[in-house]
């Protein structure tokens, strides 16, 4: 029985659902390789057969350009599922580890097992990717799962619910639609893991709810991702990549979009010119009408962004753009120069098409600016200076760093994707997804043959010497101790 989209999801419904899921999970249904492969294959079919529906839903919810839908959500999801299908056996197999003389004779391994029932709460900006990509990890690791897609992208949420009901094993994989009430009811249940993608405010609420049940969490939050731009680089290429990471990624409404830029006072004018040129090449002169830019998701966020833009000490700092049209929820790509550090636009994560540029005398000063804030999900640097580059890699702490590009590290499935500090905890993508939803059980096998009774009472000096030798390390001392010398 799948979830009935019109029924109320209250505490009773939640408890019934949990009971049903626990019963099926307890029967061992999700643990087999075959189940995992079949569900992953179904998920792939779900996406491949409904690409156009997915793109249409994203167009409706976000006015997302088709290419962003096909590439960033559908394309990345397909890669992710195919990788899991290819590697699953390897991921599932136990890892043998070395054992030492202390436990001789013994053998040991680390065995991955599922956690149980997991909850995946996702955000509105990449509604398919952020709900289904964690699901890939959850299924690959052998868990049952409940998805709670964001109500702020309602057409996508409804489509996810419909397609999952149609294609997936509904005794183990469910979707619950709704808003705050439904999410709260879900958070009261006992989960074996919760994966939440969103903002830090709700992140705290999720973790506090998880604390009551000692549930571990994977939090993918955000932050102000800085982009530091050096001199003497190919500004055209750099600007293109910055633009793609910012306005080409859901019009700046992406957790890893470059939030603001830091460059030298001397460099700023050239940078601004290059950005303007490339922006107009990409989006034309009348950007509010461009179909290649997502809109602002809803009027709440529109108002939030206008507030950032129109704040007194900020509104005069616009050097490009600023035009907006509330009726179509569009704000054109806007660049600001040297807004005050204590302005709202520099305190909050922007999550929109506004790009402040801060200037410094020496580029090294950018490290202090970045490190004085909370650790962001990503940080970017554009430079040809090797020494400066390595200094940046060492000094700047963020979830991930990219030199000479933006956001592409999300596509490297051999890298963990996650935050640190306020930008989140835990990571996923590729094998990291499998690991995030697994328990790595330590398994040790011992034989009966040799048992040094040195660990047992009654305690004697000779036993102590042997213990010291064994734990202290050198083979020679062990031999000497065995023969009664000190």
């Amino acid at each position: 029985m799948g979830s009935d989209a019109t029924a109320i999801f209250d505490a009773e419904a939640a408890q019934t659902m949990m009971k049903e899921l626990r019963a099926v999970y307890g029967s061992g249904a999700t643990k087999s390789y075959d189940w995992r492969v079949s569900q992953l294959s179904q998920l792939l079919k779900l996406i491949e057969y409904h690409e156009d529906d997915i793109a249409a839903a994203l167009r409706s919810d976000l006015s997302k350009p088709d290419i962003e839908s096909y590439v960033y959500e559908i394309g990345v999801l397909k890669s992710s599922i195919k990788l899991a299908l290819k590697e699953l056996r390897k991921w599932m197999s136990p890892e043998k580890v070395k054992t030492s003389l202390i436990s001789f004779p013994s053998s040991a391994k680390i065995v991955p097992e599922p956690l149980g029932i997991v909850l995946i709460i996702s955000a509105w900006n990449y509604p398919f990717l952020l709900s289904l990509d964690p699901l890939v990890g959850a299924i690959a690791a052998g868990n049952a799962a409940v998805l709670k897609p964001s109500e702020i992208s309602p057409v996508s949420s409804a489509l996810i619910a419909k397609l999952v009901r149609e294609y997936m094993d509904s005794s183990t994989i469910r979707v619950v639609e709704g808003a705050v009430a439904e999410t709260s009811v879900l958070l009261e249940q006992k989960w074996d893991k919760i994966c939440y993608t969103g903002n830090a405010v709700v992140g705290r609420i999720v973790m506090a709810a998880a604390a009551k049940h000692l549930t571990p969490v994977l939090l993918e939050l955000g932050g102000k991702c800085p982009a530091v731009v050096d001199l003497n680089i190919n500004l055209q290429v750099a600007c293109r990549r910055i633009i793609m990471g910012k306005w080409g990624s859901n019009n700046g409404q992406t957790c890893v979009s470059p939030d603001y830029i830091i460059t030298t006072k001397a460099n700023a004018p050239k940078l601004i010119d290059a950005l303007k040129t490339e922006l107009e090449k990409f989006y034309g002169k009348n950007m509010l009408e461009s179909n290649d830019l997502s809109r602002i998701v809803n009027s709440n966020h529109f108002a939030r962004l206008i507030k950032l833009l129109d704040e007194d000490k900020v509104s005069g700092k616009v050097v490009y753009g600023g035009k907006r049209d509330e009726s179509i929820l569009k704000i054109m790509p806007t660049i600001l120069l040297d807004v005050p550090r204590n302005s709202l636009i520099m305190k909050e994560e922007i999550f929109g098409p506004l790009l402040p540029i801060l200037t410094v005398d020496r580029l090294e000063d950018s490290f202090n600016i970045i490190n004085s804030g909370t650790k962001p999900l990503a940080a970017y640097l554009f430079t040809n200076d090797k020494r400066f580059r390595e200094h940046f890699v060492t000094e700047v702490s963020a979830g991930g760093l990219v030199v000479n590009d933006t956001t592409i590290h999300l596509g490297v499935l051999t890298l963990p994707f996650g935050g640190v500090g306020d930008s989140g905890m835990g990571s996923y993508h590729g094998k990291f997804s499998f690991d995030a939803f697994s328990h790595k059980k330590a398994v040790l096998y011992r034989g009966f043959v040799a048992d040094a009774d040195i660990r047992y009472p009654p305690y004697t000096r000779k036993k102590l010497r042997l213990l010291q030798a064994l734990l202290g390390g050198s083979f020679l001392t062990i031999i000497l101790a065995l023969f009664g010398r000190n």
Partner: protein
């Protein structure tokens, strides 16, 4: 007694010290690990003295379980440190030309280690090894229930380490709460699941990641054996793990035993024999029994036995001496499953033996209860081993021995569900106190034009091929030999 203001100032100083970068380099980390080794060596006598006073621990037990184990771990960390600190390259697809990707471990910053009273030195310093190896500044809060150990750590330890980077804060739960209100980059807590919920709730305020090393009822599944030698060793290991690991007050001690009912008499005899062999005819006179930590826990354990339905099930031992905080190694046979002794973690020298009709029933018994920190299984049957491995879940699973997983540097030590989250020991300690930062370096020279708008059908095709790593398709589209599907 630290006031809040002093505490916050100290922490701010430590954060600034961390930001100065002093703790990042390999030589600093090595010096701290070597400082730990020196502390263990030079202060060994005082450590033994403190443990004897706080817990009545025999020095050899103290060496075996705490000092020796720590020495092994520090040496292991020193050997592996360079390898742990190095960046690891990540594989990239062919299409990513002139690009490198790697995972760079970096410290988290300022971390908090809260340890507990049963292994006050061991459980304070083992996490410290990982935290320092990973380049962090650390605040350690030892348990107030072992005041001599706590005092020794607070006064002596910082003199062997960088006192600006490592601080020990003594105090009770009020101090603990004050510490938890601060912002940490990580918290490692060892203790009960009740307090763990408070720790996790406090951590949620600051989005602080945590490792929780809790407990649970660690069961032993005792199968039958063909050889009597194996039976002897099994009985020896089980009685040792129950009664000699801090008198059963250990998170990985044996809590209860499951055995098939037709073998119960045999096993009971074996265990009684081994108790005598380990502790002598009069265990109260034995030098080798740790005390119950305090009156509160003594009363708790006494009340477990005072339940009349439980009292009648005692088949060995039962002697108690409140003044000396001594409880005789006690065995019970089939106490009611709803009694407190079978519902709560015992954490003391009381051993319930539960009989089952078939030993296979123990799998259901265990998996219908909260996941424990460890499951111990004594069996010679491979098929039974595989069933247990597949059908039960626990932090660790040990076959034919007990507790020894604590000493394995290559195995993760941690719980699951009610027994905890996260893991440490060996490299897992280093990893748990590190952030693994993904780093991609690209060149500005080459780019694919189809990455950029304005969008058209051909660019979409190219991007799809690129994401599929369909290099041939890419080439054909570019050459105009393949069209959109």
């Amino acid at each position: 007694m630290e006031t809040t203001v002093l505490l916050e100032d100290d922490l701010e100083d430590m954060r600034m010290y961390y930001r100065s970068g002093k703790t990042r380099g390999e030589s600093w980390r090595r010096s701290q690990l070597q400082g730990l080794l020196l502390f263990l060596k030079k202060k060994e006598g005082e450590i033994f003295e403190a443990l004897a006073q706080d817990l009545g621990k025999h020095p050899i037990e103290a060496y075996r379980d705490e000092v020796g184990s720590l020495t092994k771990s520090v040496n292991y960390a020193l050997n592996c440190l360079s390898e742990w600190m190095s960046s690891k390259k990540a594989k990239l697809p062919l299409i990513a030309i002139l690009t490198t990707a790697e995972i760079v471990p970096e410290p988290l910053g300022l971390v908090l280690v809260i340890s507990t009273w049963n292994f006050p030195i061991g459980l304070s310093l083992e996490p410290l090894i990982g935290a320092l190896a990973a380049g962090n500044c650390v605040v350690l809060k030892p348990s107030e229930l072992t005041p001599k150990c706590s005092f020794l750590l607070a006064t002596a330890l910082p003199t062997f380490l960088d006192g600006k980077a490592v601080k020990v804060v003594e105090g009770d739960s009020t101090t603990g709460e004050r510490l938890l209100r601060q912002k940490w980059d990580k918290i490692l807590f060892t203790g009960s699941s009740r307090i763990a919920r408070e720790v996790l709730a406090a951590a949620a305020e600051h989005l602080t990641p945590v490792v929780l090393e809790l407990g649970g009822k660690c069961p032993v599944i005792l199968d039958s054996f063909s050889r009597s030698w194996d039976k002897e060793v099994a009985a020896q290991r089980i009685t040792w793990a129950k009664f000699n690991a801090c008198a059963g007050q250990a998170c990985i001690a044996v809590d209860y035993v499951l055995v098939e009912e037709r073998f119960i008499d045999e096993w009971l005899e074996l265990m009684k024999t081994w108790i005598k062999k380990l502790f002598g005819e009069n265990p109260k006179q034995s030098c080798c029994n740790a005390r119950i930590i305090n009156k509160h826990h003594f009363t708790r354990l006494r009340m477990l036995l005072e339940d009349p339905k439980v009292q009648s099930r005692v088949v060995h031992g039962g002697d108690m001496d409140e003044d000396n905080l001594y409880i005789e190694p006690t065995i019970l046979l089939n106490p009611p499953l709803q009694s407190a002794i079978m519902m709560d973690e015992i954490f003391g020298p009381l051993l319930p033996i539960i009989t089952v009709k078939n030993i296979e029933d123990s799998i259901q018994f265990i998996s219908s209860r909260p996941k424990p920190l460890a499951i111990y299984v004594f069996t010679e049957r491979e098929s039974f081993r595989q069933r247990i491995q597949a059908e039960t879940s626990s932090g660790s699973l040990i076959f034919n021995d007990v507790i020894i997983q604590y000493l394995a540097d290559t195995l993760p030590f941690g719980g699951i569900g009610e027994s905890g989250m996260g893991k440490y020991h060996g490299k897992f300690s280093f990893d748990t106190f590190s952030h693994h930062k993904a780093v991609v370096r690209r060149s500005l020279l080459v780019d694919f034009w189809f990455r950029f708008p304005p969008w058209n059908e051909q660019k979409l095709q190219l991007l799809r091929s690129a994401y599929d790593y369909d290099y041939l398709g890419l080439l054909l589209i570019v050459l105009g030999l393949k069209r959109s599907s």
